[in-house]
């Protein structure tokens, strides 16, 4: 059989395959340059950037949990100016799609950062991290309610030169409402899920394991939640979905695509196997060949009810 097609399309952007990296787990790509051929990836989502540099929380910033980990890095990043100045240069040459994750603590910050990124054609897409607390609002995450989500996405969309992909939090009562609001606000795609709200305490020292007390739960432990929410959103909106959460290998990629994802992001897995992404890509090709599937898009949303 001829080489199956692994290419997918997200918000008008063509990826050579559905395998991309999750924000904050792949830095700006540099560290992985020595482990894998970055040009093989469908895309790279870079660490959340904000208006100003952020040093992040004091350590300890992570703790291991059952089949997962907690993190409270604190959105440490170089800030948008240094990002544009120092990081885009490296990313330009990689031969893979560059998706810039943008975070903000109020509407103005999002708009400021997007404005700074506009015009830089190394960038293929913006992933909007709306799982941040709205400090000048009620302090709740922007993605916690359809109204706030609609507000920030529609305002950003107006000024954004690039396709826009809001990234949704799983910590919501009804993700369908939030997803619908983003779609109506003009989102070109949706990425989900971000980390689950979590915490750990050492029963012997009585100390919390993170200086920030609570953090974000990621890893295989959360995969069933990510798959369920992708499935829910897939049955709610028409725009493409990028599935995230506990993806470790090609089988998890298939599971997310069957649930309705058009592409996926590998996060925590990068910490355990630096080459997990490229391995998954070749395994996916093998998987399709074995089954005589000529196009990976045939998997999307094809989960069979029993």
């Amino acid at each position: 059989m001829s080489k199956p097609n692994l290419g997918v399309k997200i918000g008008g952007v063509e990826l050579k395959n559905p395998v991309t990296t999750a924000s904050g787990t792949f830095g700006y790509g540099e560290e992985f340059d020595e482990y894998i051929d970055l040009s093989l990836l469908g895309g790279i989502v870079t660490k959340s950037i904000t208006r100003h540099e952020r040093k992040g929380h004091p350590p300890p910033r992570t703790a291991e949990t059952a089949s997962g980990m907690l993190n409270a890095i604190g959105l440490a990043n170089v800030g948008v100016d240094a990002y544009v100045r120092d990081k885009l240069k490296f990313l330009r040459g990689l031969g893979t799609r560059i998706i810039v994750n943008v975070a903000g603590f109020d509407l103005e910050e999002y708009l400021y950062v997007i404005d700074k990124l506009n015009g830089h054609d190394e960038i293929d897409m913006i992933e909007l991290n709306i799982s941040c607390p709205n400090v000048s609002g009620d302090g709740m995450e922007f993605s916690a309610h359809p109204e706030t989500a609609f507000d920030v996405v529609s305002r950003v969309k107006k000024i954004c030169d690039f396709p826009l992909m809001p990234k949704l939090s799983p910590n919501v009562s009804d993700i369908r409402g939030v997803a619908k609001a983003c779609e109506e606000a003009g989102a070109d795609a949706l990425a989900l899920i971000n980390t689950l709200y979590g915490m750990a305490i050492d029963p012997f020292t009585w100390k919390v394991k993170l200086t920030n007390v609570t953090g974000g739960l990621s890893g295989p432990a959360i995969k069933p939640v990510g798959v369920a929410l992708v499935w829910r959103v897939f049955n709610t909106v028409k725009i493409p979905i990028v599935g995230i959460g506990g993806i470790m290998d090609y089988r998890d990629v298939v599971e997310y695509m069957l649930a309705g994802a058009t592409a996926v992001q590998f996060g925590t897995a990068n910490f355990i196997q630096p080459d997990c992404t490229v391995r998954a890509i070749s395994d996916l090709e093998h998987y399709l060949r074995e089954r005589n599937i000529s196009d990976i898009n045939e998997l999307i949303g094809k989960a069979i009810k029993i």
Partner: protein, 244 residues
Amino acid sequence: MRIELPLKSFPKPGTFLHIKPTREGSDPLLRRAFSIYDYHEADGAVEVLYKVFGRGSYILSRVPVGEKLDTLGPLGNGFEIPDPARKLIMVGGGVGIPPVYLLAKCCLREKIPATQITFLCGFSDRTDLVLSERVAKLNVTTEISTDDGSHGYHGYVSELLREKLAAGLAGDKTNIYACGPEGMLAAVKRVALEHKATCYLSLESIMPCGVGTCLGCVVKKAGEERYHRVCREGPVFDANEVEL
């Protein structure tokens, strides 16, 4: 534990291996870092020396000989071989001994005279004395301290270090290389400062990725509100660079 990890050249002391303890299932999830303890030029095998703390090290302790281990590395930024003119004091606390041992071995290999080197091993009590076995075989001046006095010098190894420096070993002509628990390293740093000795510390930290991307392993930079990645900029730092 001996790991067949064909390394062509002698590994840099202070660098570490990132080992996946779990072979089935996803719990525990993360790799564990272990300093390179020894290297056998004959077959290029690397050794790590560890103590059973929690789940990861326990699982490793039950891996049958001959099993394949999923290992990354050598990783990190190790110790630089010092200027032969300097006096060298190695300070290892418990499972902090391995990287400093390899440094001492390396120095001798680089023809630095054994008389230049003093090796201080610190333990809380006598239970872990085995960790200093190979140090004794180096034929450098070696002293052992135990917090409870059950063996050798009675007190913290940092106090033993202070006495050494007080008794002759001119601080400003001395390099100190230390690895051990954070409290010990902080004390060693203080003593080194008092005596104007140059001091390098190999730090520990919880290391999810080990390659510099998760930003989980950071330590605060001295003086400024910024952080070093222990796995990438470290684990070895000039004592003046970090705040403990």
